[in-house]
């Protein structure tokens, strides 16, 4: 049914298998759907919420041969086979009723298949597309990485377990929050669009980041009533949207904080990483004691062991003593790449705003912890 070089197959297959759960109650979901025509192989994987499709052009010139057919093959096993086969080897797939025979040099596999007609392809909504935007893949990836870590994981407020995309004219905002901290950024997009917002589920965002290319290339994002699709050329991801209303994020981003200071990012990150060794396992608290030109970081764990770090900073405001969850700070510092970060504070009970120079868009707000 198909003759193809193993190298051509590996990457496209890997790009769809990321969403295949290891354990499933529905056996067919651990398989990937293979749809073959003489000119094209389309592989599809889904977890019923998200679906990723990846296609390979087949041409005799590249040594591929194919006849029209479709079947489903186990996802993990195929990946493991492709990984362990010698580089550049030619594979022959031969389909019989419930099995597929694979022959590669002197290696043979006989895999069980499940019927392709049973595969739960996600129905794409036929309704009219309400939004359609195009962005550079590289830019989108960079922006997503800046905010993605602030999404909630399994919050009861399901709308926090995702990332908000808000489009307005030629601007797209990306926001993630878990209720304790919030990351915000925006970027320019081509064209002039009507206002609209939607929440992409967490898992789709994580997969999307993996699919996005650092190199040049565009991605087309389309939103229908309850779905969003991401078209990257050879790969297409469709996801259900998270229902619900995202919190009013503009309200929690502080605008008039006066206690500003810049701090070297790497140095602060290293200091916090050291202090974190002795941060309490449950609370993860770190104290920031700000004095004249001095920042003192202190962590105490349950055994009453202490870590303290001192940094000279450009701080000329009144002394302050404020606590944070150290993980929230490590998150933002590892996910920004600039040399310095700017911190802005209100009082002991208000949030801290972290921004980066030369990127007006990015804002990170973190609430304090009363220690």
């Amino acid at each position: 049914m198909l003759t193809i070089n193993a190298d051509t197959l590996l990457k496209p297959l890997q790009s769809v298998t990321g969403i295949v759960e290891r354990r499933h109650t529905l056996p067919i979901l651990s398989n990937v759907l293979w749809q073959i025509t003489p000119t094209r192989l389309v592989m599809t994987a889904t977890d019923l919420e998200i679906q990723i499709q990846s296609s390979i052009e087949l041409s005799t010139s590249s040594g591929s041969q194919a006849s029209t057919t479709e079947t489903t093959l186990p996802a993990r096993k195929m990946i493991d086979i492709l990984r362990t086969l010698p580089d550049g080897i030619e594979m022959q797939f031969q389909r019989s009723e419930n099995t597929v025979k694979i022959r590669a040099g002197k290696t043979k596999f006989n895999l069980q298949t499940l019927s392709a007609s049973d595969y739960p392809i996600m129905a794409e909504e036929a309704k009219q597309t309400t939004l359609s935007i195009t962005v550079d893949q590289e830019i989108l990836k960079k922006k997503l990485l800046q905010v993605q870590y602030a999404m909630a994981t399994q919050d009861i407020r399901y709308y926090l377990n995702g990332l908000l995309i808000q489009v307005k004219q030629n601007n797209m905002e990306l926001v993630a929050t878990d209720g304790h901290r919030l990351a915000y950024t925006d970027c320019e997009i081509e064209g002039d669009h009507p206002s609209g917002q939607f929440i992409i589920p967490r898992k789709a965002i994580i997969e999307l980041i993996k699919l996005l290319d650092d190199a040049e290339g565009k991605i087309r994002i389309e939103k229908t009533e309850n779905q969003a699709s991401f078209d990257l050329g050879k790969i297409r991801l469709i996801t259900k949207l998270v229902e619900g209303t995202f919190p009013d994020y503009q309200r929690v981003i502080p605008k008039d904080y006066e206690k500003n200071f810049a701090i070297p990012r790497q140095k602060l990150l290293n200091a916090l990483q050291r202090a974190a060794i002795l941060a309490n396992e449950k609370f993860r608290g770190v104290r920031w004691v700000l004095g004249d030109k001095l920042l003192r970081l202190a962590c105490t764990n349950a055994e009453q062991e202490e870590a303290e770090e001192e940094m000279e900073i450009d701080y000329h405001h009144e002394a302050m003593d404020i606590g944070f969850n150290i993980n929230y700070l490590l998150d933002v510092l590892t996910n920004t790449k600039t040399e310095n970060v700017n911190c802005a504070l209100g009082d002991e009970n208000s949030s801290m705003l972290i921004t980066v120079p030369n990127d007006e868009a990015f804002k990170y707000v973190v609430m304090p912890m009363k220690i």
Binding site: Q154, G179, K282, G285, G323, N325, K370
Partner: protein, 592 residues
């Protein structure tokens, strides 16, 4: 539409009987309580057909004067209180003046009574509340109440009577409760002329053993503690010996059996850390409390009470029981360090005098350390630790109740030998408890951290929730919550305890408010906290299949001996088991 009119007395009494005398056992209870209130020292019960036919209670108490006999069975007639002031200071079991009249209304009742100075007794007979006559009759000193054909005139109620066996079980249960509450009084119980119980006057301990039997006896912890206004005593079961139902739970407030929410919750909380899943502890606890601090006039059957200081009572019970349950294995072999116990309990009771002080956990720590230090200071016999060939003569004292390790089997169990024989220790379970107790001790000094919310949450609160929230702001703050009331009826959550930052904040606050309103205190977050620590402990404990050396095993045993609650793992499973030499002898049929 019918006219409104006052009901005839006979109907009123039948209605009242519905509340007070719901089944024969309830009639028995009322009769027994009257006997107790009359100062009897010997009470004999004899019933027939599960109490459906006859309930006879004979006592040697003060008796009722001839002239008052008929008054005794009329409604709201009592000798126990005079005025409404007396209601706040009730020292008798009864006081409503309802029991006899209610019973009389639904049965054929005869009351024979003889005062000590009278030559013979007098007998009153009534049928359905109608007094026939008072005639002289032979009688011993005291009163005999005989209730025949209960519900003969209320067929609706009679229909609901169960089999004799069931009704007998209920009567016996009532009898047991009363007998447990008064160990100094001798009791006997006959059913269909067959003697079922014969209890001589004795002390609480003996009475408990007689009534609850050997299961309870083999694993009970005596408890005793007092304060200015209250005294608690009795016995509770060790967590290993628990029950699948709540039957063997006896709590007495001033000699009165009660099932009270505050009390149950307090006891449950004390066991929370050591009891296996859905098992129930067994206990006989008697709380003597200043009568003015408790209101028993809550329900006609009086199994509910209301404390004026529920929070203090709750804490008193919980702390006393926790302390008893937490005693390290080492301490169990010594007499109870009652002085220390007293010292520990006393500060709690400031709250009785008004100031609602939260228990100083620091005190518990000191107590724990004290014992610990004592043990550390005791010299270890050097050869014990490495002795592979530990011979019985080395193991001679109770210094090492868990014995000296011999070997490990299956990668799970440590075998050790003590003076009684063989001990098997579940290594993971035991270590889990040790790590858990360490974590708890450490986190007590952490204080409460509150994570402020960026996206605040709010919910529509009920009147009660709003009221509790506004009156307990400080309590909530000490738990790590930051909330504000948003008129008219919303509660806004601005901060949650840091270790619960990923929990459902709204539910957490609602549950906490709910618990505060019910019990005056909330330990939901501390329970969740302990759950968290427990999970951490499970991961931090040695796993099965880890080979331990003999010194490591001995070190584990020694630590178990001085750690509170080391008899159970965090989930309430036992950590060790003793097989005595006698039991081993049995297996091998030695000396038979």
């Amino acid at each position: 539409m019918n006219d409104i009119r006052t009901l005839p007395d006979s109907v009123v009494n039948q209605i009242a009987a519905g509340e007070v005398v719901e089944r024969p056992a309830a009639a028995l209870k009322e009769a027994l309580e009257n006997s107790l209130d009359s100062g009897s020292t010997d009470i004999r019960v004899s019933i027939e057909d599960g109490g459906k036919k006859i309930i006879r209670v004979q006592d040697n108490g003060s008796g009722i004067h001839k002239t008052q006999l008929s008054l005794a069975i009329s409604r709201h007639a009592t000798s126990k209180i005079n005025s409404s002031e007396d209601l706040t200071n009730i020292r008798t079991l009864g006081f409503r003046g309802e029991a006899l009249s209610s019973i009389a209304a639904v049965s054929k009742l005869s009351v024979i009574s003889r005062l000590v100075e009278m030559e013979h007794g007098w007998c009153l007979k009534s049928t359905g509340g109608v007094v026939s006559d008072v005639v002289p009759c032979a009688s011993r000193v005291g009163t005999e109440v005989c209730i025949e054909d209960i519900y003969f005139n209320t067929p609706a109620r009679k229909k609901f009577l169960r089999s004799s066996t069931t009704e007998l079980a209920h009567c016996e249960e009532i009898f047991k409760r009363i007998a447990l509450s008064r160990p100094k009084i001798s009791f006997s119980f006959k059913h269909n002329e067959k003697q079922k119980w014969d209890l001589q006057h004795s002390d609480q301990d003996t009475r408990i053993n007689e009534i609850l039997g050997s299961t309870f006896l083999s694993g009970k912890i005596p408890i005793q503690a007092n304060t200015e206004n209250a005294l608690i005593s009795g016995a509770i079961s060790v967590p290993n010996i628990s029950s699948s139902n709540r039957e063997k739970q006896y709590f007495f407030v001033n000699g009165r059996f009660v099932r009270d929410k505050v009390v149950t919750h307090a006891i449950r909380q004390a066991y929370q850390d050591v009891l296996y899943q859905s098992r129930h502890p067994m206990y006989v606890i008697s709380l003597e409390i200043e009568p003015k601090l408790v209101d028993v006039n809550v329900h006609p059957a009086k199994t509910e009470v209301r404390f004026t200081e529920p929070r203090a009572v709750h804490q008193f019970i919980t702390k006393t029981l926790e302390l008893a349950l937490a005693r390290p294995i080492n301490a169990e072999l010594r007499p109870l360090a009652s002085e220390l116990l007293m010292e520990k309990i006393r500060p709690t009771f400031d709250s009785f005098n008004g100031s609602q002080q939260i228990i100083n956990t620091q005190n518990t720590l000191k107590f724990g350390r004290h014992i610990r230090d004592k043990n550390v200071a005791r010299p270890q016999t050097g050869n014990n630790i490495t002795a592979n060939d530990a011979s019985p003569n080395i193991i001679s004292s109770d210094d090492n109740p868990l014995g000296i390790a011999i070997a490990q089997i299956g990668g799970i169990y440590i075998l050790s030998e003590n003076i009684h024989g063989l001990i098997i220790v579940d290594m993971h379970a035991a270590h889990e408890r040790l790590v858990y107790e360490d974590l708890k001790r450490a986190s007590n000094s952490d204080g409460i951290k509150s994570q402020k919310l960026l996206i605040t949450e709010s919910f529509q609160a009920t009147e009660l929730q709003l009221d509790v929230a506004s009156n307990n702001k400080e309590t909530l703050e000490t738990l790590g919550f930051a909330i504000s009331l948003v008129p008219p009826d919303a509660i806004l959550i601005r901060g949650v305890p840091a270790f619960l930052k990923d929990a459902n904040a709204t539910n957490l606050v609602i549950d906490t408010l709910d618990e505060i309103s019910r019990n005056g205190v909330s330990n939901i977050s501390s329970e969740l906290h302990n759950d968290l620590l427990s999970t951490m402990a499970c991961h931090g404990a040695v796993r099965a299949n880890r080979r331990l050396t003999i010194p490591e095993m001995n070190a584990l045993l020694r630590r178990m001996e001085i750690t509170p609650r080391a008899n159970q793992c965090n989930h309430g499973r036992p950590t060790w088991h003793q097989i005595t030499i006698e039991a081993l002898d049995k297996i091998f049929m030695r000396g038979q």
